[in-house]
């Protein structure tokens, strides 16, 4: 009989070996997708401060947010969560909170007096049913126009403030054989650009009636038509190599002087810094062509529910550290974004951040980012329409408006 068992073992032993789970370390694992040089230097600020305060930071950086996010979510749902995980503010983590998978941070919030020190919109964006579920760590806007100062001087072009200025400048560059606008036609970049146009050329009211109120009829307005036309017109100022180009590739076109301008979020500064560029000297920045709105976006960290008391305490500590005044300044300086606290020393910020901060002081220029107002599903469906519009020069603004409205129609609550 022993023979029988031996052969049985031979067959099943392998299966058993496969099922052995890998050992997971009981430390404070932080899952995020900040992996470029600038970003990881910024993350290190958090890590150092956390370790100095007695925590043990275990870095789990995943290159691509599209991979990292589902990985983390699956682990949370599967009951094997990271201790702390990066997220976008807004609706995205709502479903996790609703499912009772996230830790309520009200206790840390009230102890640290977040109500006073954080902008109301930001607090709103990290809350769900009046409870705080995420730690916002910065403020940024995706609708900066960055430009190569040397080229602007060479062609004697003035800094544009409106879309009309922009097109005039773009014509000059085009005529001079320089690519006017560096662009990467990846869906997220296309959608981000479009939303910038929506807020800048369409105006605050149109923007809110679409993302906040989800009104299909907003697409029938002349403002929307203008947005559609501006967006379509931008196409003619880009080069044929746009498909699938990443944002850093586009940034490098500005740096090398192949292209004059690039519309992108604050994180573009990381690329410029890496190339040794200085804000205001090598490159210039214009916030929100048109109405100069600040489309508030924020990176946040969520704390999944954990069973051990020690881990729970680490989470509280992490929340506290991330919003520490000094940490905020140091972190955002490196990250290229703005501190989310309104009571920190801003003297160390660069020229562009100062512009942003100035704009932020005016509540009428503050505009919640799309992520804060609408769910990912709706935004992605809109992005599909926008992407198709960009890729189909034969599509008229009217046709586009109809498709856009049809998506909004689907998401009436």
């Amino acid at each position: 009989m022993s023979k029988k068992y031996r052969s049985l073992w031979r067959a099943t032993g392998l299966m058993l070996a496969l099922i052995q789970p890998a050992m997971a370390a009981e430390k404070t694992e932080v899952l995020h997708w900040w992996t470029t040089e600038a970003q990881s230097k910024a993350v290190k600020v958090f890590a150092d401060a956390f370790n100095a305060a007695g925590g043990q930071w275990v870095d789990n950086a995943i290159v691509n947010g599209d991979v990292a996010k589902p990985t983390g979510i699956n682990r949370i749902v599967g009951g094997n969560p990271p201790t702390v995980m990066m997220m976008n503010a807004g609706k995205q983590f709502g479903e996790l909170a609703d499912a009772g998978l996230l830790r309520n941070l009200d206790d840390v919030g009230s102890a640290e007096n977040w109500k006073q020190v954080l902008p109301a919109d930001v607090l709103e964006a990290v809350s769900r049913d009046g409870h705080i579920y995420a730690v916002p760590v910065n403020l940024q806007t995706p609708n900066w126009l960055w430009y190569n100062k040397a080229l602007f001087e060479k062609f004697k072009v003035q800094e544009p403030k409106t879309w009309e200025d922009f097109f005039a400048a773009a014509d000059t560059f085009k005529a001079g054989g320089v690519i006017a606008l560096a662009f990467g036609a990846q869906p997220w970049q296309q959608h981000q650009l479009f939303n910038g146009v929506l807020a800048g050329a369409g105006g605050r009211e149109l923007y809110l009636s679409i993302f906040r109120d989800k009104k299909p009829e907003a697409t029938e307005t002349p403002e929307f038509k203008r947005v559609a036309e501006v967006y379509a017109k931008i196409r003619s100022y880009t080069d044929p190599g746009t498909p699938n180009r990443s944002f850093n590739e586009a940034a490098s076109m500005v740096i090398t002087g192949k292209a004059a301008m690039h519309i992108m979020g604050d994180w573009e500064k990381g690329e410029f810094s890496a190339a040794g560029w200085v804000a205001g000297k090598d490159y210039g920045c214009v916030l929100g062509l048109g109405e100069q709105n600040f489309l508030m976006d924020s990176n946040v960290f969520i704390m999944p529910k954990v069973s051990s008391e020690a881990a729970s305490q680490s989470q509280a500590l992490m929340a506290k550290i991330m919003l520490d005044k000094d940490v905020q300044v140091n972190f955002n300086n490196l990250k290229g974004s703005m501190p989310v606290r309104n009571d920190v020393d801003t003297s160390g910020l660069d020229a562009c951040s100062k512009i942003g901060l100035e704009v932020l002081k005016d509540p009428s220029k503050q505009l919640a980012g799309p992520d804060w107002l609408a769910g990912a599903d709706m935004l992605n469906s809109l992005a599909d329409v926008v992407v198709q519009y960009w890729a189909t020069p034969s599509q008229t603004p009217e046709e586009f408006a109809q498709k856009y409205a049809a998506v909004l129609e689907q998401f009436q609550d």
Binding site: K4, S7, L8, A11, T12, M15, D66, V67, K69, P70, I73, V77, Q92, E95, L96, A99, A185, Q186, P187, D239, P240, G241, T242, P243, N244, G375, A376, D377, N380, S381, D384, V385, V387, Q388, W390, A391, T392, K403, Q410
Partner: protein, 293 residues
Amino acid sequence: MKQRPIRWSVYVGLMPAILIVVFAYLGTMIWTVGISFTDSRMLPAARFAGVNQYIRLFATDRWLTSIQNMVMFGVLMIGISLVLGFLLAVAIDQRVRAEGVLRTVILYPYAMSFIVTGLVWQWILNPTLGIEKTVRGWGFESFRFDWIVGQDTAIYCVVLAGVWHAAGLVMAIMLAGLRGIDPDLWKASRIDGIKPWRFYLHIVIPVLRPSFISATVLLSLGVVKLYDLVLVLTGGGPGFSSDVPAKFVMDYLFQRQNIGLATAAATTLLVTVLCVLTPWLYAEYFRRQTPKG
């Protein structure tokens, strides 16, 4: 009377397969189909939503485009690969010099992953880097070969890369088939004075029917699963003009966090494949099956 003993060891041997079928295939399949009838978004939820996801799915341009692309890719890639592969096999079968080298050269792409295939063709087809740039560098300034950035043409780039990858396999299968043809048939045809092209058309192709079927089955397996190639070659773009169903599902599952819609799409694929497959599998493996001693 003694009971008929159960041969446990047989079931122990089959246990991995049984577990895999029950849990990894059937279980997951049922789960996927089930979730497609809910309004799950980021998380699977048990809120029944009827066929809403399917209604939305078939109202989604991107899904319809991806289905259309899959069909187009399938027909073109299989068609061209079969024709090219067959012609290559016939040409090689004419006692050409350096046959071994030619065979090797034609087949090696099949050993490459779709990732490698996609990357290298992406470089070659990139207008600012590859063929277009090179030809312009030769002085033909107006030369255009920018299919990969064209809304209507990007899918042909996927077909091109697909044919490059698969034609060699068809050639190998066909060549084996040609070499298996009774040499007496050739002699008979020459005595009968049949022209070679007629002989190929009327005798060889019908004889090679099984080879054509095998090649078609093998290639069509790749069509439904087409994902990697599109991902690296065009990223589904420009826009979503070269999207395919597998990529659609993956995007909605992971990036878009719309599990309900993604599972509805996966279920649609599943049902389509089953409809095509079940009759064939039945005919192929079970109808003619006789009991074994």
